[in-house]
């Protein structure tokens, strides 16, 4: 059931991201918020499948193949996932910093992979205000996502 819910709602999250991009004077990158939850909150075993669906949805709704989006999102997630062992990922400055990395890296990686594979991709790149706004808001938005279905049921419960 949770997978079905994820399949239905992940594309809507991208549309909400697009809607905010039209409404807000700055870019609040909901894609980075999602990547934050996948990297630091979800069970690592589920991350690949969750990411794959997001990548497929981005492939349909945005430019570029799903493989391109999987690499652009998956590489930073794979790089940051082991940080859970050395950092307190619930500490909000850590989460803000990780979000900042996603906001900057994902659009750039998307363009790089698009150029390498000869595809068209023109992700929205946030300005400084957008990066800061996303870094500030992401920890709170991620906390909400982590508690709500469907991502709530994929969240990792950590024994400390």
């Amino acid at each position: 059931m949770r997978w079905l819910l994820w399949c239905l709602l992940a594309p809507q999250w991208i549309l909400l991201d697009g809607l905010l991009a039209q409404w807000l004077p700055f870019r609040l990158d909901l894609g980075a918020v999602l990547a934050l939850v996948l990297a630091l909150d979800c069970r690592p075993g589920s991350t690949a499948a969750l990411l794959a669906w997001v990548a497929l949805a981005r492939g349909v709704l945005q430019d570029g193949d799903a493989a391109l989006h999987f690499l652009a999102l998956g590489l930073p997630v794979a790089a940051l996932l082991p940080l859970r062992a050395v950092l307190d990922e619930r500490f909000w400055p850590v989460r803000a910093a990780v979000t900042g990395l996603f906001v900057v890296a994902v659009p750039r990686l998307t363009v790089v992979f698009a150029e390498l594979s000869g595809q068209s991709a023109a992700p929205l790149r946030p300005g400084l205000a957008g990066v800061l706004a996303t870094m500030l808001c992401a920890p709170f938005l991620a906390a909400v996502l982590r508690r709500l279905p469907p991502l709530g049921s994929f969240a990792e419960v950590v024994e400390r």
Binding site: L15, D17, G18, A21, G31, R43, L51, L61, S120, A122
Partner: protein, 473 residues
Amino acid sequence: MIQTRSSLRTLFPVSLYAGLLVAVLALLQPQAVRGVEGWSAVAIAQPLRFWTGFDLTAHRVGAERREAGQRDVARRVESLLHRLDRTAPARPGTVVDQRHLPTVRAVVERRGGVRGWPSRLVLDVRRDALADAAHLVTRGTALVGFLDPDPVPERDERGRPDRWAGHAQVRLLHDHGAEGLPRRVPARLRVEDSDAPALAFLVEPASALDRLPLRCALFDDPYRAARLRRTDLEVETSGLADDPLGVVPQGLGLGSLEIYGYSDGGLAVPIGVYVRPHHRSASLSHVVLWTTLSVPDEVRRLRAGAWSARRVALRLTRLPVPTDVRFRWMAALRDDGFESLPVGAAVVDGERLIGVLESTGPGFGMVAPFGQPGRIWSLVLERGTGDGAGIVEVQARGEVRQAGQVMLRRIGDEELPAPGAEVFTAGAGPDEPPFLWVGRLVAVDGERFVVEHVEAAAVPHELDALIGGGSAR
């Protein structure tokens, strides 16, 4: 369930790294995962069809305005075709007799080749209707290739039925031939300011590693060839009288000379001599055949309206997405049916191109609007008016789309016309016919140019998709 982080598998999930590896392979071989992507697209997009029931952002365009627009388009296309007719090519020597007339034929699909140089062109005419056609295929004063004696086969390389089976196809000069036997053309260098005899050689298809599609071989005077320095020379056919592969008349243009080699004070000591064709095969919208058919009838058939594509009624919804363009149109069949729409089908308002379909599935498709950043578009631009009028075919990559204007960057070195020229499609596949009107050229700055295109907010809610089904003949 309580999990601990003691194991490395938790921190380095195998599934994620395996997924990344598969993604790299999929990026290199996209056709291997097309099926999975196609089915996923259906699963993702079908729920989104819910939104097409809400006409929240699309605007309706009044019937009067659309009708006026249609009249404009018809007039423009008619004018363009008149020019095409007037700029009909020079008669290629004695190979075609006076009974043969130039017949302009549209290119419906480009195939084969490497690095943006397709090597075969499928035409909008059946091969059996060209029984009396000369083997030469020209454009203006240039030889572009040879008419294949065989039609497009019933099935493609993978054994699937070919939608253009029976159609005529042109093997361009850089095509390596059906059995790997390329057609070499006897050529010479046109040196107008020199008393020396022309340098003779053969022009043949270059290898896949070369930067240009044609190269020169077997020079009659290798010493002179090694001393070539100028790259502005025109290469033309030399008209070898007893060419065993069929006579090619002399004086037909093949392209301009390009020399690659070691640097020698700004020049190059040749190690490879190439020919840059006059026309980029990726943007060739039409070619000229020499047949005994009537010219005006044939030219009129190129009208966008006369294309045999079927029109399918669509309903468009603007979806907000986080890209540079900030929206994506989703098209659904107006009758809520589930007919599969082909990728690449032109989405049109009358005869005006709005965009092309991507990520399609049963009854729906996502629309890439004209000028979508990063996407390559094949275009035909009018050049001038009056006696010197003609057309320029260019391939261009979309850069910015904003406020009803699209900035594109030319690929190649064609001279762009002055602002004010009308812009049409050059045809990009079986479902995107040539000579669909796009808009007006409003600015040219070096290799960049701006085309006025319909504002996203003014795109009508109800449009059509063109689905090619082959030509009527």
